[in-house]
Symmetry: C2
Subunit: 190 residues, 2 copies
């Protein structure tokens, strides 16, 4: 969220946000993401262009906000009964989603219209929440668990780095190999 949008105010302001976000999603689905303009979005949303500029500052900040909303996970991580499988499935799903063409576009949009870094922080916040849920569940089962930052640093970060910078090296085994490394090498020492 940009500071302007962070307040999530109710009433007219919330309706404007929703109709503008919906307009962006519809136009992206119809035209692809490279051709959007603020006047076109405003017309579809039934607001004036100056409303969009006043609220979001620029097209890229608006696209960043929309992208972050689309990156929000819709479900809790699945419970497979043990930590290893929970992490393997979650990491495989994360990789598949984020490395898809829409996933890559959303990550790029989220990063590029984000002058203060708060939208990028929101993206990693989603991953932190999901990982924390998985680890908490495992700890309640009595399993040994790594801490959240170990999973962020050594599973999520390498996945995201390859998605953004080295996509040629991604394959379905990679997420599983990172989980194996955490299990055999990076668990807390007794």
């Amino acid at each position: 969220m940009t500071p302007r949008a962070a307040a999530r105010p109710g009433g007219r302001s919330a309706r404007v946000q929703q109709s503008v976000h919906t307009a962006v999603r519809e136009l992206q689905a119809e035209h692809g993401r490279d051709d959007l303009t603020v006047p076109q979005i405003a017309a579809r949303a039934g607001v004036t262009p100056s409303t969009v500029y006043r609220r979001w500052g620029s097209l890229s900040e608006l696209l960043s906000d929309v992208a972050v909303e689309r990156l929000r996970p819709e479900t809790q991580p699945a419970d497979h009964g043990n930590l290893r499988e929970d992490l393997e499935h979650w990491a495989a799903d994360f990789l598949e989603e984020m490395s898809s063409p829409p996933g890559r576009s959303y990550i790029r949009d989220a990063l590029s219209g984000d002058p203060d870094g708060s939208n990028a922080g929101q993206c990693s916040g989603y991953a932190v929440e999901q990982v924390t849920t998985i680890l908490h569940r495992a700890a309640e089962r009595g399993e040994d668990v790594p801490d959240t930052d170990t999973v962020m640093d050594h599973i999520v970060a390498p996945l995201m780095y390859r998605i953004l910078f080295r996509p040629g090296l991604l394959d379905p085994r990679y997420a599983r190999d990172l989980v194996t490394t955490v299990f055999y090498r990076l668990m807390p020492l007794p």
Copy 2:
């Protein structure tokens, strides 16, 4: 590099590239990065706007190419006589450079005007080269060395992830802690 620019052709074409890149750098230094327009860049470079569009496609692709050039390391990694110090110093320098305000802008520019991912690939290629140099030197000294991808996945990737997504968690000790983890936990098993 975008495909158009990848050929690095000589003669007039190379001169155009150089004068346009120089114009972008000068204008960014004078005005900041948010206000640039193609006509303004073309005027400073002494070319027509259509030359810029023909060659780079869009402003964001041009800015991406310029950013990648600026992220190119200017020197070989320093030789401190042992792998651990070489990696600690290199990782600390990488963190300092990439997390600085200009570093962050270049990374964001490199990623955002990069439809085919080749500029992002070039950025990670620079890191791969530097890490490979460090590891090769250590192997020649007879030290045990991790492989390049272990360093990319467990030092470079976590650094870049926090730079882009979790800047509040960066501190100077972090790079050193990642090197320690590789040394004590992720070296090749005998």
